[in-house]
């Protein structure tokens, strides 16, 4: 493991904890993903570097509870994700995990505000009570009020990615998983985006797992996990 864990004395209360996790796609030989140990404390943002095809999509599917490991354990804030039913993992994802994709994060025909509030519906929370926070988050991310009723498809790519951040952080989740969210942005926008995202994540008390092949972004993170240097027997998928 190349995850550099600083030694601390206080009792560990991990946001996410992996123990001897093994995963293979059905019908394939050998493990496609093997990760013996990964522990993140609150506020420890992790950078996962890997080219496409290095198994990072699989890792993200596992971390977000879309799929479960064949072996090993996966804990999200003292919840054993590897033991939950699919439906419970879905609800847990809605409540505790925010996800931001490379691009096209938004339902194009919904308004900006509705896109942010979308997550509330699946987390069994009233959208009304969260409207205030949604507007605040959008404003913090530089999206003024006149943009909120607009259809998501009318926004620029950079704006859309910021709306995605607002949605991911709406419920103050424990974990934010970002899968190359800056790949469609130019350099200036990218840096602004990174700063805003990390600032808002810290504000919400959310731990970020950031996946990218772009080494230039490594500097924003203290903890790094290069996918191509994972343990033996792992074949790219």
């Amino acid at each position: 493991m190349k995850v550099e864990q600083p030694v601390t004395d206080k009792p560990k209360k991990y946001v996410i904890e992996l123990k001897k996790m093994r995963f293979r796609w059905p019908g394939k030989q050998g493990w496609q993903l093997a990760l013996d140990s990964l522990q993140l404390e609150p506020g420890q943002h992790l950078f996962i570097r890997g080219a496409s095809g290095s198994g990072k999509t699989t890792l993200l599917n596992l971390l977000s509870g879309i799929t479960t490991p064949n072996e090993g354990e996966l804990w999200l804030q003292q919840t054993a994700m590897h033991q939950l039913s699919a439906a419970k993992r879905d609800t847990l994802r809605a409540q505790q995990i925010g996800v931001v994709f490379q691009q096209l994060n938004l339902i194009p025909y919904l308004s900006v505000l509705d896109n942010v509030l979308l997550v509330a519906c699946f987390a069994n929370q009233g959208a009304h009570a969260l409207t205030g926070r949604a507007i605040m988050l959008l404003q913090h991310l530089g999206l003024n009020d006149e943009l909120h009723p607009k259809k998501a498809s009318e926004l620029s790519v950079g704006q859309q990615q910021r709306v995605a951040i607002a949605r991911a952080l709406l419920l103050r989740p424990a974990l934010l998983i970002a899968d190359e969210p800056t790949s469609a942005l130019d350099a200036d926008n990218r840096d602004a985006f990174m700063k805003l995202m990390l600032a808002e994540a810290n504000e919400s008390g959310t731990t970020v797992i950031f996946v990218s092949h772009d080494q230039a972004l490594q500097g924003y993170f203290n903890w790094h996990l290069p996918m191509d240097q994972l343990e033996q027997g792992v074949q790219p998928c």
């Binding site: 879309i66 879905d90 996800v99 699946f122």
Partner: protein, 418 residues
């Protein structure tokens, strides 16, 4: 929120959705329209004659008797002598009779020889009496009262003189040219074969045949119209007569007595029973029509499924996003089913409106051209059942794209495979 998603998603694809709805509207309104017309036609048909307890004619099958006496289709096998008619008429149980004498025509329309009782006792569609739109009923020997369609089609006015033709063909070579009839009355539309009839008195029928023998004018003997008026015009025979009884309870008794009448072989039928039997034969056609419209509906629903299936490809991203925010694959199944429900409900409502407008517009045409009187409200138990069937079939077929959405949600997870 799910509802909002389904609604806005459909609105987002409104072009294709509109075409889908259009095709469904066409097939649903066709289905409901045919079902409606089927019921209305049956109503109209079975109410052709009412209030009549028995129809009496020379011995023949009951359908034959019904067809020529009420629907003016086909011919009588034989006549009833005037003496027999008089004797039965005096039966203590019989309240009234309407004599009918057939055999002549006017430009394809049947001539009905009868008397004033026809206008007094004939009932159709429940308790409706024949109404005169213009003029009066016949009083003089050469007076005639036209059915509404006859007058409208041939453009006849009151006071006009018409010539009756011997026989019932569209084109006749032997006409009663010497004894023209004057139009004195025109009946209001009834939606029954009465509209297609030319009514004259029994004496009138007798008068025009006074110098005829065996279907042709007697050579060398001419009786002018004026001379005929002076002669004894008591009919020698009639074709059939309708009977109203004093008490309905006596129907079967009187029917048996007429059937067993010794003087002459007669048949008495119950019009309701005969009408139902006739409709049974005709209903083959309407059932076939209904089957065809169900197939048209199926085609429309398959079209909807195809459209939804095609849209699934471009909605992979949507599915991934919804999965990312915590939607269960089941939710995506129901999301697509909700869209199916919205499409089919919209189609049903629009189809209903289209049908009502269509009926409203077509009402006059159907009444004028075909004598078919239709109600404007197509909602009845059978149409509600059909609407339920449409909805059920739609949701059943909707399972295909819904299941696809479910599969995609389950297998693709957050990634989008193109």
């Amino acid at each position: 929120m799910l509802m909002k998603l389904a609604r806005l998603s459909l609105w987002n694809r409104r072009g294709t959705v509109a075409m889908t709805v259009l095709s469904l509207v066409i097939s649903i309104s066709l289905l409901l329209g045919i079902d409606h017309l089927r019921h209305e036609a049956k109503n109209s048909f079975t109410s052709t004659v009412s209030g009549t307890d028995l129809i009496v004619g020379a011995r023949s099958g009951q359908l034959n008797l019904l067809l020529y006496s009420i629907f003016r289709i086909g011919n009588a096998t034989a006549n009833i002598s005037w003496e027999t008619y008089q004797r039965i008429q005096n039966h203590p149980q019989i309240g009234w009779t309407i004599p009918i004498s057939l055999g002549d025509s006017h430009r394809g329309y049947r001539v009905v020889g009868t008397n004033q009782d026809y206008f007094k006792y004939y009932r159709y569609a429940g308790q409706q009496q024949l109404q005169l739109a213009q003029g009066t009923i016949f009083q003089e020997l050469y007076d005639t009262v036209l059915g509404s369609e006859v007058a409208a089609r041939l453009g006849y006015q009151l006071g006009q003189e018409i010539v009756l033709a011997h026989g019932i063909g569209q084109v006749s070579f032997s006409e009663h040219k010497d004894k023209p009839f004057t139009v004195v009355g025109i009946l209001a539309p009834t939606g029954t074969p009465v509209d297609q009839s030319v009514h004259v008195s029994l004496e009138g029928i007798e008068a025009i045949h006074i110098d005829w023998q065996q279907g042709a004018p007697m050579p060398g003997r001419r009786v002018s119209a004026e001379q005929a008026q002076e002669m004894d015009l008591t009919p020698k025979a009639i074709t059939a007569f309708l009977v109203g009884l004093n008490s309905r309870a006596a129907t079967f008794l009187v029917q048996r007595q007429i059937n067993e009448f010794r003087g002459e072989p007669l048949t008495a039928i119950l019009p309701g029973v005969a009408l139902a039997e006739l409709w049974q034969m005709l209903s083959m056609v309407e059932r076939l029509l209904l089957v065809i419209t169900v197939l048209v509906l199926l085609a429309g629903l398959v079209g909807m499924t195809t459209t939804l299936l095609a849209s699934m490809k471009e909605r992979q991203r949507e599915i991934a996003i919804l999965r990312a925010v915590g939607a269960h694959p089941r939710t995506l199944f129901w999301l697509v089913q909700l869209e199916v429900l919205l499409i089919s409900l919209t189609s049903l409502v629009v189809a209903m409106v289209v049908l009502m407008i269509g009926l409203w517009l077509g009402q006059d045409l159907l009444a004028g051209r075909y004598g078919l009187f239709i109600g404007l409200n197509p909602i009845r138990q059978s149409s509600l059942q059909l609407m339920g069937l449409v909805l059920g079939l739609a949701l059943l077929l909707g399972c295909i794209p819904s299941w696809l959405a479910y599969r995609k949600a389950l297998t693709d997870g957050l990634s989008v495979r193109l």
